[in-house]
């Protein structure tokens, strides 16, 4: 088992009282799955994804990632775990504007303390695979949305994570670009990477092996 959520709650306290984002969420993910989380706006999809990505903490409940109790371990260990096993892809790509394509892809490797020669070969491999060698010295603003998202995915997988979390990865793309990206995810999944995506689109959800429907912070069905 890759990860497991047990009775996870997430809430915010305000003057108006307690607002629940997630209520009693339980689910397991096996390695190699391709899961789509669906649900209307405000149903807690993104929060769930952030908790899975260890960028947010549940208010209550347990989260095990490769047998490790994420809800108990310390920040330092958590970020080690996260750094090693998880990659993130965003709707708005979130590339660093001041860095070139090459440098954007290279950045995670820097934080993994990898040597320069290793970095070079890894980045070169990925550029090659995504057919972006000719664009490696361009800045994000010089790329189309689809190309930017490609760089985003390249950046996410360069550290060879077990799990990719994608927050509406095609939300800002046209349908053709979106299809290409989803094909890429499918391919990655076939290579053994576990993928959890948040999406609004039934079509995109169909790429996955399992759909989780979220409504008002609860898993339905």
């Amino acid at each position: 088992m890759l990860l497991q959520l047990n009775k996870v709650f997430k809430w915010y306290d305000s003057k108006a009282g307690r607002t629940f984002i997630l209520r009693d969420v339980n689910f397991d993910v096996q390695e190699g799955e391709f899961i789509s989380i669906m649900g209307p706006s405000g149903s807690g999809k993104s929060t769930l994804l952030h908790i899975l990505g260890m960028m947010d903490e549940p208010s209550e409940g347990e989260y095990y990632f490769i047998e490790q109790p994420v809800h108990k371990i310390r920040e330092k260990q958590r970020s080690e775990l996260y750094k090693k096993y998880i990659g993130f892809v965003f709707q708005a790509y979130h590339l660093i504007d001041e860095l070139t394509v090459y440098e954007n892809i290279e950045t995670p490797l820097l934080y993994h303390g990898m040597k320069s020669s290793e970095r070079q070969s890894l980045v070169a491999d990925i550029l090659d695979r995504f057919h972006m060698v000719g664009k490696k010295d361009l800045f994000p603003s010089q790329l189309s949305g689809g190309q930017q998202q490609l760089v985003g995915i390249a950046r996410a997988i360069i550290t060879k994570p077990k799990l990719i979390l994608a927050d509406e990865p095609t939300g800002n793309l046209n349908s053709k670009q979106g299809e290409e990206i989803m094909d890429l995810f499918k391919q990655l999944n076939q290579e053994g990477v576990t993928i959890i995506q948040v999406t609004h689109s039934e079509k995109n959800a169909a790429y996955g092996s399992r759909i989780i429907n979220l409504f008002d912070g609860r898993i339905e069905g």
């Binding site: 590339l95 660093i96 996410a156």
Partner: protein, 813 residues
């Protein structure tokens, strides 16, 4: 990793040209100020550190205690030095230095084939014992230091003088004629030195103390109580305790001078001052090099630090204000695995890069402005790679510290962003950051306002000093120094000739004149009292019509007159303060007598007149007791000519012609009394100028920062401005809206700065016995200036923002 950071940093600099410009310019100007001040401080503390075993060298000073005052002076009597050496084993070596009073220059004459071939004045001629160069280290380029002053009539000159005399030829063993009040003597040059290090003992030529009249006096001098006019320097055995020696000196002086002091009505105590502290810490260095001041060193250092701090604040403010733009990057980096520590080091690295760029520009600025600074501070600092290794290391350290200070807050602030928040675009400046930014702006403007107020007060005080009535006529008074025996003896004849000119009101001579240093004083007592109840009176030995020439106001009795033959003998004119000190009124003091005892003899003076109090020293000092005596020997040091002319130039030409008649071999030199008096305020004037320059720089950097912030705010509120305009706001409304916040900050700064500036400047004013009161309108002016400057800075951006067509600004959202 580093390369990645540098790339980002550089690209960010390029992308945000305005902000980079403000930051780098501010930082480099701030750093340049700090570097200049660092050089200045290093220059100031380097004085007299170079002598071999400088740490064991001391100057013996004297505290004079009379019934009503205690005064520290750097002088001692002639026999002191070598008696100390004989009596105390811990005194390893001693030497005396004599600096002629009221004689700023001596004349050098070079004779070839019996004719005078060269003749010029030289200043800073000191007389010193043969042991002088044993104590003090001078770099000799000719001659042997330890034996140079062994013989009478030997002189050691600076390289510059040697060159003036002999060009590039060797000066060693050549004969030069030096005429001064010490006599007209042929000196043998026994050494040439290169003054490459700073010293309080800033002589340009050193004559053997056993030469001339002074030599005769020194050889016979046995008295320890009087004639305190020699500097005594001693070197202690390594490891001796100067405090212990100092304690023993009370018994020492009482043993040798006790009886004389008792008779004359004063006591003396000796104290030791470390030679290396003389420049900055000594209260009084007498006639030697102009004193530095430790308080001015502190003042300049703090101004430099504040200037740099203001620049650092700009960096902090602009970085945090713009953090929204960097937030996304922080979020992404965190998501792809960056830890907080890595991000902190990245942002610190960026500010370091900026400060190092600043350092490069600052170095250029220092190089360009060093001459200007030298002129302002009247220093002669020049940068030499070999001498300033540590200074350069210091500069680099300064850049690193600057980078760390400026970068620390933004680094921690930026690195602590939560990725999910910033990536969702929910980023807002936290209230804490906004408040801190406001606080920092207030701090910046407080410093600027303090500096404005300081400049204002200094300026007012300087004007006050200039406008004060000194109690005599200082304008149109030409002072002609009478330096040598020849000129002194030609005085009467010269006076007669000069007075023939109808534009000359009158001419007279004296031992000294108001505004210059004078050491002459005497303790007097009145009838029915004893020497133990003496009162100290400063004296000036004058010619008949000196009192009239300078226009001192006689309020009782009469001035000296040729009609009273007895005036030449034992008659005195006092000022009001002196009369009061003796317990009389100006009316009843006439005809009373003053006495003093010397060598078991009683000397009498009859009081014949009283003059209104006048300023004989700078207005730092309050007026004390003063008296005039007629100089029996006509041994005057200065001739004063009161003229009434519209063409000073032709008047001076006339005087020079007359002078040449009697003194063909001596150059004619003159000064103006009013200018000489102003020289008492040189240090204050200089500091005032420096402070005002720094004020300008500090305000400039503050405004840069404010401009940056205003730009940012206007950018941030562009939508709000658009909506307001659609709703009918006028341009004035918008400018008001944008400026109000900043102006409020400046007002708060004024409230904070006011009391601090008032306190600091009041302290400064205490140095002057005569001073202005700090008034409320000065605060008003400083406040208005700060507000106006801030408003102009902010409104430029505000107007720009207000003029934007709302359709455009609303569309961008």
């Amino acid at each position: 990793m580093l390369r990645n950071y540098f790339k980002i940093a550089f690209r960010n600099l390029q992308k945000n040209k305005a902000f980079s410009f403000i930051n780098i310019l501010g930082l480099s100007v701030g750093m340049a100020c700090c570097m200049l001040i660092l050089l200045y401080v290093q220059n100031e503390i380097s004085y007299d550190k170079h002598h071999t075993r400088a740490e064991d060298m001391y100057r013996v000073g004297t505290t004079f205690v009379t019934t009503d005052q205690t005064k520290n002076m750097p002088y001692t009597p002639a026999p002191m030095a070598f008696t100390l050496k004989a009596d105390f084993p811990e005194v390893e070596q001693a030497t005396r230095v004599f600096v002629p009073f009221n004689e700023d220059k001596a004349i050098f004459k070079l004779a070839e084939n019996g004719k005078v071939s060269k003749s010029f004045y030289e200043s800073k001629g000191y007389m010193a014992d043969s042991t002088f160069f044993d104590l003090f280290s001078y770099k000799f380029i000719e001659g042997v230091p330890h034996t140079a002053l062994n013989e009478p009539n030997s002189v050691v000159v600076s390289e510059e003088i040697a060159q003036k005399l002999f060009g590039n030829q060797s000066a060693l063993n050549k004969i030069v004629h030096i005429a001064s009040s010490n006599g007209n003597i042929d000196f043998k040059i026994t050494g040439v030195f290169r003054p490459d290090k700073l010293s309080t003992i800033d002589g340009r030529f050193f004559m053997s103390l056993s030469s001339g009249e002074m030599g005769a006096y020194v050889r016979s001098a046995r008295n320890f109580a009087f004639n305190n006019m020699f500097y005594t320097f001693i070197r202690l055995q390594p490891g001796s305790n100067p405090q212990a020696l100092e304690k023993k000196l009370t018994a020492f002086i009482n043993k040798y001078a006790g009886a004389d002091m008792k008779a004359a009505g004063f006591k003396k105590k000796q104290f030791l001052e470390a030679v290396s502290d003389l420049h900055l810490k000594s209260e009084d260095n007498g006639q030697m090099a102009g004193k530095g001041s430790i308080s001015y060193v502190y003042l300049l250092t703090s101004i430099a630090i504040f200037t740099l701090l203001i620049a650092c604040i700009n960096f902090m403010n602009l970085s945090t204000a713009r953090s929204g733009k960097r937030a996304a990057e922080v979020g992404i980096r965190k998501v792809v695995g960056a830890e907080k520590a890595m991000l902190i080091s990245q942002f610190l690295g960026e500010s370091l890069l900026l400060s190092i760029l600043g350092l490069v520009i600052a170095s250029v600025l220092v190089f360009l402005f060093l001459p200007v600074f030298n002129q302002l501070a009247s220093t002669s600092i020049h940068i030499e790679v070999s001498q300033h290794v540590f200074t350069f290391l210091g500069f680099i350290a300064l850049a690193i510290i600057t980078g760390l200070i400026a970068g620390s807050y933004p680094a921690f602030y930026l690195a602590s962003f939560q990725p999910i928040k910033v990536l969702k675009g929910k980023f807002t400046n936290t209230l804490a950051a906004v408040n801190l930014r406001r606080g920092l702006v207030i701090f910046q403007f407080s410093i600027s306002i303090i500096l404005i107020l300081a400049s204002l007060v200094v300026w007012k005080q300087m004007n006050y000093l200039k406008d004060q009535s000194l109690g005599f006529k200082q304008a149109q008074q030409v002072v002609i120094p009478l330096r040598t025996k020849t000129t002194k003896s030609s005085y009467e004849a010269l006076k007669t000739e000069i007075q023939k000119n109808s534009q000359v009101v009158s001419a007279a001579a004296a031992g000294s004149y108001p505004g210059i240093f004078s050491a002459r004083d005497q303790n007097f007592y009145t009838d029915g009292k004893t020497g133990a109840e003496s009162v100290n009176v400063k004296l000036n030995d004058v010619d008949y019509n000196f009192i009239e020439t300078l226009g001192f106001k006689v309020i009782s009795g009469r001035p000296f007159s040729k009609n009273f033959a007895a005036d030449t003998n034992s008659r005195i004119v006092l000022n009001e303060k002196a009369v009061a000190a003796f317990g009389y009124t100006p009316e009843n003091v006439i005809g009373k007598r003053l006495h003093f005892d010397w060598n078991n003899e009683v000397f009498d003076y009859e009081i014949i007149g009283v003059v209104k109090d006048f300023h004989y020293e700078g207005l730092q000092q309050s007026i004390g007791r003063f008296g005039f005596l007629l100089d029996r020997n006509q041994n005057y040091n200065y001739m004063v000519v009161n003229v009434n002319t519209s063409s000073m130039e032709s008047m001076l030409q006339f005087m020079e012609t007359q002078w040449k008649k009697f003194n063909p071999e001596e150059p004619f030199e003159y000064t103006f009394m009013d200018q000489d008096f102003q020289r008492n305020y040189d240090t204050e004037q200089r500091m005032g100028t420096i402070v005002s320059y720094f004020t300008f720089i500090a305000i400039f950097i503050s405004c840069l920062g404010l401009y940056g912030l205003a730009t940012f705010t206007a950018e941030q509120r562009i939508k709000e401005i658009g909506i307001r305009k659609v709703l009918g706001a006028s341009i004035t409304n918008i400018v008001q809206l944008l400026s109000k916040d900043f102006l409020k900050l400046v007002l708060i700064a004024l409230l904070i700065a006011g009391p601090i500036a008032w306190y600091a400047m009041n302290e400064w004013l205490q140095k002057f016995a005569y001073r202005i009161e700090i008034q409320w309108w000065m605060f008003a002016i400083a406040g208005c200036m700060a507000l106006l400057i801030a408003f102009l800075t902010v409104s430029f951006q505000a107007v720009k923002a207000a003029l934007i067509n709302p359709v455009k600004s609303l569309k961008t959202e």
